[in-house]
């Protein structure tokens, strides 16, 4: 809000989503891969099983290419992206959790060093040392998940932190442990699903069958852990978040169908894995590929659900996606949003449309593009000034609802009772509201003009 605003053409949410999806898929694989490869190589050494050893060896190049290169860079990428799009929120997270991140960083060092050394020392060190490297890697990678989960889950369920602002309360929040269990299961099955490809490249038929069955077993374990974790996660959510997508009449149909989707994906994935377990000989790569896609679908669905359940906040019950704090609504209504978003009027003429556009950029552009994702032109197309007024007035009144605490229990806002459960309230002076309305009206006009022109 205090910062200059940069919104990429595809929309802020889409960019964050793309970077985040790429990163979580890879990073969870990197964690699970460590655990599963450590188990595989341990068994290979114990049982003198050459096929198992080759499986670990074949996967290790991918593991480093993926985890130390793509994982590391996309991890920094998320950081850079949210710093650009949500500087206020990023700053808030840094101030609360910098020591947590610094601790995680130590595990990164161990993770990177052991991954590179593991790959570089095949055939070069005693087996014990090689096992030491992969187990240390698995430990470090898992610990980085243990830490980052504290911060991710905090953003959805900050819990007692809202009152105490204490590190421990924010970190060990209500969905911390359930989410960690869920993610651990996901890590394990993703690694199993990926390594299943490497298993199919084994030439010896008997060995291949053994590997396929073993990895199917790993995936079953992962799926069961993930399913248990998911249910526990749902149960740990505050009632009002659950009301958004659970129960007989969920408030937000889109989220409810996301939930159905991800559970069905998990069930289908489970069936395919059972098939591999029971008929390992019949396993072919297309089945493996479908299984991996289903695994991704479940995971992606969960991430979407978690993000969706957080809207309109970036830190639930504390800071909205556009950086406005619940605690500053009243002040901003009085002093105006542009008193804070000073950057947006730099070089702009002092007239209503320009002001309205600045207000829009300050508060709405974080979610609404002009023509693309959640495009505002489409949403206001055909709206007459009275309708626009009604929408903005309602949005402004919702701010009063937040301030009065009408729907707030234990610092938690039951957003499902609002008219716009997905949108932050409008904040700003009456004049700014009028300016925004004027600006939005220009969007409806051009639309009409374009249509006429087209005819």
């Amino acid at each position: 809000m205090d910062y200059p605003l940069w919104i990429p053409g595809i929309g802020a949410g889409v960019l964050i989503g793309l970077v985040a999806i790429a990163h979580v898929l890879v990073s969870h694989f990197a964690v699970g891969g460590g655990i599963v490869m450590a188990v595989v190589e341990t068994l290979a050494v114990r049982r003198q099983d050459q096929a198992m050893r080759n499986l670990a060896k074949r996967t290790s190049l991918i593991l480093i290419l993926v985890s130390t290169v793509f994982g590391a860079i996309s991890g920094v990428g998320i950081w850079v992206t949210i710093g650009l799009l949500h500087p206020v929120a990023t700053s808030a997270l840094i101030h609360s959790y910098v020591w947590g991140w610094a601790t995680e960083w130590v595990f990164f060092i161990l993770e990177v060093a052991t991954a590179l050394a593991y790959y570089a020392t095949w055939d070069k060190v005693r087996p014990r040392t090689h096992l030491l490297l992969i187990w240390l890697y698995a430990f470090a990678a898992f610990m980085s998940l243990v830490i980052i989960q504290g911060i991710i889950s905090f953003m959805l369920t900050p819990g007692n932190w809202l009152e105490s602002k204490a590190f421990v309360d924010g970190f060990f929040n209500p969905t911390y442990v359930p989410g960690l269990v869920l993610r651990t299961g996901i890590c394990v099955f993703l690694a199993g699903a990926y390594m299943a490809f490497a298993a199919l490249r084994e030439q010896d038929q008997a060995a291949r069958v053994r590997l396929v069955r073993f990895l199917a077993g790993i995936q079953v374990v992962g799926i069961l852990i993930a399913y248990g974790g998911y249910r526990w996660w749902e149960a740990a959510l505050p009632e009002s978040i659950r009301a958004l997508f659970l129960g007989a009449s969920p408030k937000l149909a889109a989220l409810a169908s996301t939930r159905h989707f991800l559970l069905w994906m998990l069930a289908a994935y489970f069936l395919l894995v059972l098939f591999a377990l029971l008929a390992p000989k019949a396993q072919r790569w297309p089945v493996t590929a479908v299984a991996l896609l289903l695994a991704f679908a479940f995971f992606g669905g969960y991430e979407r659900l978690r993000e969706g359940a957080r809207k309109p906040f970036i830190i639930r019950d504390y800071m909205f996606s556009n950086g406005v704090l619940i605690s500053e609504i009243a002040k901003l209504n009085q002093e105006g949003i542009l008193s804070k978003a000073r950057w947006l009027m730099v070089g702009q003429p002092d007239e209503p449309v320009a002001k309205g556009r600045a207000v829009f950029r300050a508060q709405c552009a974080m979610c609404h593009t002009e023509n693309g994702y959640l495009g505002i032109r489409k949403l206001v197309a055909g709206a007459d000034p009275e309708t626009l007024d009604l929408i903005l007035t309602t949005m402004r009144e919702e701010g009063d609802t937040y301030v009065s605490g009408q729907y707030t229990v234990n610092s938690h806002v039951a957003t499902e009772n609002l008219n716009y459960p997905f949108m932050p309230p409008f904040v700003g002076t009456e004049e700014e509201k009028e300016a925004l309305k004027t600006y939005l009206a220009t969007l409806t006009e051009t639309k009409v003009a374009e249509v006429r022109h087209g005819n």
Binding site: T103, W105, P127, V346
Partner: protein, 363 residues
Amino acid sequence: MATNLMPALDPAPIPGPVWLFHLLWVVTFLVHMLFVNVVLGGSLLATFAGSSRREVQSFFVNANSWAISFAITFGIAPLLFIQVLYGRLFYTATILVAGSWLGMLGLLMVGYYLNYVAKFRLQKGKGVGISLPLSALCFVLIALIQVMVNLLHLQPSRWEGVWTQAKSALADPTFFPRFLHFLLAALAMAGALAAYVAVRRAKTQGQTAELTDMARLGVKAALYTSVVQLLVGFWLLLALPSPVLSAFMKGGAATTLPLGLGILAGIGLLVVLAGIREPIAEGTKVRRAMEFLVGAVALMIITRHQLREAYLAEWQPLAGAQVVPQWGIFLVFLVTFLVGVGLTVYAMYKAATDKPQVGEPAA
């Protein structure tokens, strides 16, 4: 410029004493820079060395498959600490050049994968092709973006200009000397490292013509770049805005000592390098050169940090900030750090030394 474009201070308190963050910032940044110098200087030097010098190329390509990872990892820590102290300057600077700042990650990823391409090509006995020069180009561009962002976060008075006209992001009288200063240091470091490694290899594996050549090339690269560096360094110093320069000089021994010693280390480096006739036979001198160079880099990083304070003095970036240390979790960090570094060193030591005897099974 309208002062009021400075974003508000984050209302949350700083979770530890300010000096502690400065300390951790400088120390982790130094480690980051050592790796960055190897990556940037190494990829450039290996490119210039040409395909006839396989020894040099394969050394840097292999070293970089580690060094890039460590450069990234050690970049994370200073990135955290700058945000704690100067987040509002840093975020604003990056947002002003958001496209480049984000693009930097693409360059990093491409540069890294191209280095692997070069590595596998060399392993197969082929030449590096364009993979290595392109990889070096990526790192040069990253350096350019870093210098640009760095100069922007130091000078809030330039923000409005850049916001209304993006091109002016590069328009700073210190931009070019600063960028050059950085490139030359990286090349010198890579040269000294190449010579040092060649000397060590000649000792353990026996001297070869390739190693002799690698050592000579390294010393030459370090020497020539350091001569130019001395001039560029003074150019940079004189190009500094005069209030910044005088604030820096008024800092007394605290600021002039690191700079003075850094310049002396640079001169020492030159003297040592100039005195080397046949590097392979003069291992001690090569080693001394390496020590002078690392010393100079360390001192210059302190200077660079102090210069930031001089630039920012008029803005008082921490005025009004509260400090509420989180000692408990800091202790967790400290213990993790000691144990983690210990484990890393132990694991690397084992990986390097625990070779199987003849007839014993290997992993």
